[in-house]
C-alpha cells in the first residue's frame, strides 16, 4: 500500500515545524482541526452574545465594539446593518468551521484511521493540505471583519440578489461579501480533499479481519458523511465561483433584469435569484447531515460503551444513516417553499422531506430501545450523548411541521425556524462534539478530564440550551420575524420580555462554556494520567497507548477477530472482549 511505502521512507519527523505545524500525522491534523473549531466556536458564540444583547438593550453601548468597526458600531452601539453582519459571520463560522470541522474533520481525522487499524490516512500529504486550505478559508473569512465596510449582511445562506450586486445593497456587500464567497470556495476545496481521503482510507487501509460490518458505528458515520460531502461541496464550489463572478466580472447569474437598489438601476440582466437558492440548498441540505451524522455515530459509539451492550441492531443503524445520506439530496426544495418556486414543486419536495423522518425515527427508536432496561454508566460523555438524543428529538419534531408547505409559509421567516435548526443541527451536533471530547480526550492527550466539572458543564448547558431555543418556537408562532435587529411592529412589543429571558439564558449558558474551556486546558496539562483503556471499551483506538505513538500501532499490524461491540459477554474473562483479542466468543442465542 502506498501509505506503508510512505512511512517506510520517512521516519517520525523531528523538527518542530514538521512535528506540530506542517505535520502529515493524522492525529496532529485532527487536533489542529479541533483547535480551529474551538477558536471558531468561541468567536461565533461571542457574536451571538453581541446580537442577543443588542436585541433587548438596543441603546446600550458595548464598550470596545467601536474598535471592531467604527462604521458598524459608532460609540459602541451597533447599527441594524452591523447586526446583520454579525449574524452572517455567526452562521458562517458555526456551520462551516464548527459543525463541519469538529465532528467530522477533527475527530474523524484522529480516530477513523485508528479505529480501522491503519497507521495513517491513505494520503497523508493531502490531509495536511486539507487542513491548511481550511485554515486559509478561515483567514479570508476573518479578513471580512477588517475591511472598511465590515462583513456581509446577507446571512450564511448569502441569498441573491443581495449577495450578488455589490456595495449598493448595503455596507459589507462590497469587499466583505467577495471575501465571503472566496472563503467558502476555498473551504469547498479543502472539504473535497478531506472527503476523498476519508473514503479511500476507509475502503483501502482496514486491518486484517476488519470487514465493513466490523467497523464501529462512528467510522461508518464518518465514511457516509464523507460520501455526502464529496458531492455536496462539489456543487457549492461552482455556486460560489459564479457568485464571485457576478460581483467582480459583471456577469448576472443570480441577478434579474431591471433591479433597482438604493435608487440605482443595477447594470445586470438575465439571471435568477432562484438559481442561487437551488445551487446553495442542493449543498445546504446535505450539509445539515454532514453536521449531524458524525454526531449520531459518535453518540452511538459512546452509549454502547456506557450501556455495556450493543445497540439493538448494528446493521439497521448503518442502513438508516445511509438512507439519511441518500435522501438528503432529494429535499433541498423544502428550504424554498416561500421563494416563489412553483407550488407544485413544494408538494414534490415535501414528500421526501417527510420520508427522511423515517430513518431518523428508526435511529431514535434504536437508541431509546437499547437504553431501555440498560444499566447506563453516568459519565459526562454519556450524559452529553443522552443530551444529543434529547435535542435531536426536540428539534426534529418541529421539522414535521416545517416539512409541510402550507404550515411553512406562515412559519418560514420566523424564529420558529431559528429554534428548529439550532436545536436539531446546532446544539445536537455540539452535544455530539462535547460527548466526543469528554470520551476521547484521555486518548488524545494522555490525561483524564475532570468529571465533576464536566457534569456541571453538562447540566447548565442542557438546561440553558432549552431555555434559549424552546422560546424561539413560541416567538415564531407569535409571528416574530427573524433577521431583524428591532421590534418595529406593535404586535412584537409584548414579545420583548421573552427575548430578555432568552438573552439572559444565552449569556449564562455561554459563560458556562468557559468551564469547559478551563477543564480542557487544565486537564491537558494537569489532569490525572489516563490509562490505555479508561472506559473498558472494545474498539481498536483503546488498544494503543494514550496518546498513541507516531504510527499508531508501533509498526505492528493489528488483526481483528470480532464485531466492534463485544460487551457483557458471558464466559469471557472480563465483561468485554477487545476487537483484536483472539479470545473465542460464544455465539449468542
Amino acid at each position: 500500500m502506498s501509505q506503508e511505502a510512505a512511512i517506510a521512507h520517512h521516519g517520525p519527523p523531528t523538527s518542530f515545524l514538521r512535528k506540530h505545524v506542517f505535520s502529515v500525522d493524522h492525529k496532529v491534523i485532527g487536533k489542529q482541526y479541533f483547535a480551529l473549531a474551538i477558536v471558531a466556536v468561541f468567536i461565533g458564540m461571542i457574536l451571538s452574545w453581541l446580537m442577543r444583547f443588542h436585541l433587548v438593550w438596543p441603546n446600550a453601548a458595548l464598550p470596545g465594539l467601536q474598535w471592531l468597526s467604527k462604521v458598524g458600531a459608532p460609540a459602541g452601539v451597533m447599527t441594524p446593518e452591523y447586526y446583520l453582519s454579525l449574524l452572517t459571520m455567526h452562521g458562517t463560522l458555526m456551520v462551516f468551521f464548527v459543525l463541519t470541522n469538529a465532528p467530522f474533520a477533527a475527530f474523524g481525522n484522529y480516530f477513523l484511521p485508528i479505529q480501522i487499524g491503519a497507521e495513517d490516512m491513505a494520503f497523508p500529504r493531502f490531509n495536511m493540505m486539507s487542513f491548511w486550505t481550511t485554515f486559509a478559508a478561515f483567514v479570508v473569512l476573518m479578513a471580512a471583519f477588517f475591511v472598511p465596510d465590515g462583513p456581509p449582511i446577507s446571512g450564511w445562506t448569502a441569498y441573491a440578489p443581495l449577495s450578488a450586486v455589490g456595495s449598493d445593497a448595503g455596507p459589507g456587500q462590497g469587499l466583505g461579501q467577495t471575501l465571503w464567497g472566496l472563503s467558502i470556495a476555498i473551504f469547498c476545496i479543502a472539504s473535497l480533499l478531506g472527503s476523498l481521503n476519508f473514503i479511500s482510507t476507509t475502503l483501502d487501509l482496514r486491518a486484517k479481519g476488519m470487514t465493513l460490518m466490523r467497523m464501529p458505528v462512528s467510522t461508518w458515520a464518518w465514511f457516509i458523511t464523507s460520501c455526502i460531502a464529496l458531492l455536496a461541496f462539489a456543487v457549492l464550489l461552482p455556486a460560489c465561483l459564479l457568485l464571485v463572478l457576478d460581483r467582480i466580472a459583471g456577469t448576472s447569474f443570480f441577478i434579474p433584469a431591471g433591479l433597482v437598489i438604493s435608487d440605482r438601476l443595477q447594470p445586470h440582466s438575465g439571471g435568477s435569484p432562484l438559481l442561487w437558492q437551488h445551487l446553495f440548498w442542493f449543498f445546504g441540505h446535505p450539509e445539515v447531515y454532514i453536521a449531524i451524522l458524525p454526531a449520531m455515530g459518535i453518540v452511538s459509539h459512546i452509549l454502547i460503551n456506557s450501556m455495556r451492550r450493543p445497540l439493538l441492531s448494528h446493521k439497521v443503524v448503518i442502513g438508516s444513516m445511509m438512507a439519511i445520506g441518500f435522501l438528503s439530496y432529494m429535499v433541498w426544495g423544502h428550504h424554498m417553499f416561500v421563494s416563489g418556486m412553483n407550488p407544485f414543486s413544494a408538494l414534490v419536495f415535501s414528500f421526501p422531506t417527510l420520508v427522511i423522518t423515517i430513518p431518523a425515527t428508526v435511529l431514535t427508536l434504536i437508541w431509546l430501545g437499547s437504553l431501555y432496561g440498560s444499566r447506563l454508566q453516568i459519565t459526562t460523555a454519556s450524559l452529553f450523548s443522552l443530551g444529543f438524543i434529547s435535542m435531536f428529538v426536540s428539534g426534529g419534531v418541529s421539522g414535521f411541521f416545517l416539512a409541510q408547505p402550507s404550515i411553512d409559509i406562515y412559519l418560514h421567516a420566523t424564529y420558529f425556524v431559528v429554534g428548529h435548526f439550532h436545536l436539531v443541527m446546532g446544539v445536537a451536533a455540539i452535544f455530539g462534539i462535547f460527548a466526543a471530547t469528554y470520551f476521547w480526550f484521555p486518548k488524545m492527550s494522555g490525561r483524564m478530564m475532570n468529571e465533576t466539572l464536566g457534569k456541571i458543564h453538562f447540566w447548565f448547558t442542557f438546561v440553558g440550551a432549552y431555555c434559549i431555543f424552546m422560546p424561539f418556537h413560541y416567538l415564531g408562532l407569535a409571528g416574530n420575524v427573524r433577521r431583524t435587529s428591532s421590534f418595529v411592529y406593535d404586535y412584537a412589543q409584548p414579545l420583548i420580555p421573552v427575548h430578555k429571558f432568552i438573552t439572559i439564558a444565552a449569556l449564562c449558558t455561554g459563560a458556562v462554556q468557559f468551564i469547559f474551556l478551563i477543564n480542557l486546558l487544565y486537564s491537558r496539562f494537569k489532569g490525572a494520567p489516563a490509562p490505555d483503556n479508561p472506559w473498558n471499551a472494545t474498539s481498536l483506538e483503546w488498544t494503543v497507548p494514550s496518546p498513541p505513538p507516531w504510527n499508531n500501532f508501533g509498526g505492528k499490524h493489528p488483526v481483528v477477530y470480532h464485531d466492534p461491540y463485544q460487551y457483557g459477554v458471558e464466559g469471557a474473562s472480563g465483561d468485554f472482549i477487545m476487537q483484536n483479542s483472539p479470545e473465542k466468543v460464544p455465539v449468542r442465542s
Binding site: 491513505a122 483501502d204 458531492l231 464550489l237 456577469t251 447569474f253 438575465g270 445551487l279 441492531s313 449468542r588
Partner: protein, 208 residues
C-alpha cells in the same frame, strides 16, 4: 443480530471483502475526484440551462468557421486521449522512453487545444462579447460561454502541467506506470467533459 458471525475464524480466506474493483488507492481517489468534478460541471451546466431557458433573446452566433474550429479542437482532444492511452501501454511495458514521448505528445496536443481555444476567445472578445454584454442579445451568453469553457480550459491547463510534471518524474524513474495510468483517467475525463460542452455550448448556439 450482529453477533451472528462471531465464531468465524478471521484468518480463514474470504472474510475480508474484496477491495472495490480491486484497484489501488490512488486510482480509487482519482475516480472519486472524477465523480465529484463531474457534479461540479453538472452544476455549472445546470446553471447555464437555467439562465438560457429564462432568456427569450438567447443569441445563436456560431457560424461555419467557428464550428470548424471547434471540430478541429475536438479532434485534437480526442487524439490526445489516444496518445495518452499509448503512453499508458508503453509504461506498462516498462518502456520508459516511449511512455515519456507519448506523455509529452499528449501535453503538446493539450497546448494546441488551449491555443486554438484562446484564439477563439480573442476572436469573440474582438467581436464585442464580454461577460456582461454582447452585440447579439441576452447578455448572459458571454458569461455562460466564458465560465463553462474557462472552467474546462483550466482543467486542460492543469492537466498539461500534470502531464509534463508526471512525465518528467516518471522518466527520472521515481514514478511507476500506475502514476501515468491514474493521470490518464483524469485526461480522459477532461476529454469527456468537452463532449458535453460542444453540443450544449456550441452546437445549440449555431446560427439558424
Amino acid at each position: 443480530m450482529s453477533q451472528a458471525n462471531l465464531a468465524v475464524d478471521p484468518h480463514a480466506p474470504g472474510v475480508m471483502e474484496e477491495r472495490p474493483f480491486a484497484i489501488p488507492s490512488s486510482k480509487l481517489v482519482m475516480w472519486l475526484f472524477i465523480i465529484s468534478d463531474a457534479v461540479t460541471f453538472g452544476a455549472i451546466l445546470f446553471a447555464y440551462g437555467y439562465v438560457r431557458n429564462a432568456s427569450p433573446d438567447w443569441p445563436t452566433p456560431f457560424e461555419g468557421p467557428s464550428i470548424w474550429n471547434t471540430l478541429l479542437m475536438t479532434f485534437i482532444l480526442v487524439t490526445s486521449s489516444l496518445t495518452v492511452l499509448i503512453a499508458v501501454k508503453a509504461a506498462q511495458d516498462e518502456d520508459r522512453a516511449r511512455a515519456f514521448r507519448w506523455t509529452i505528445l499528449t501535453a503538446v496536443l493539450g497546448v494546441m487545444f488551449t491555443a486554438l481555444h484562446l484564439r477563439e476567445w480573442m476572436d469573440l472578445i474582438g467581436k464585442g462579447v464580454r461577460t456582461f454584454q454582447n452585440p447579439w442579445g441576452a447578455p448572459m451568453f458571454g458569461a455562460t460561454f466564458f465560465s463553462i469553457t474557462g472552467l474546462h480550459m483550466a482543467h486542460v491547463i492543469g492537466g498539461v502541467i500534470a502531464l509534463i510534471a508526471v512525465g518528467l518524474i516518471y522518466k527520472a524513474g521515481r514514478y511507476s506506470a500506475k502514476h501515468i495510468e491514474v493521470l490518464s483517467l483524469y485526461w480522459h475525463f477532461v476529454d469527456l467533459v468537452w463532449m458535453f460542452v460542444v453540443p450544449l455550448v456550441y452546437l445549440m448556439n449555431m446560427k439558424r
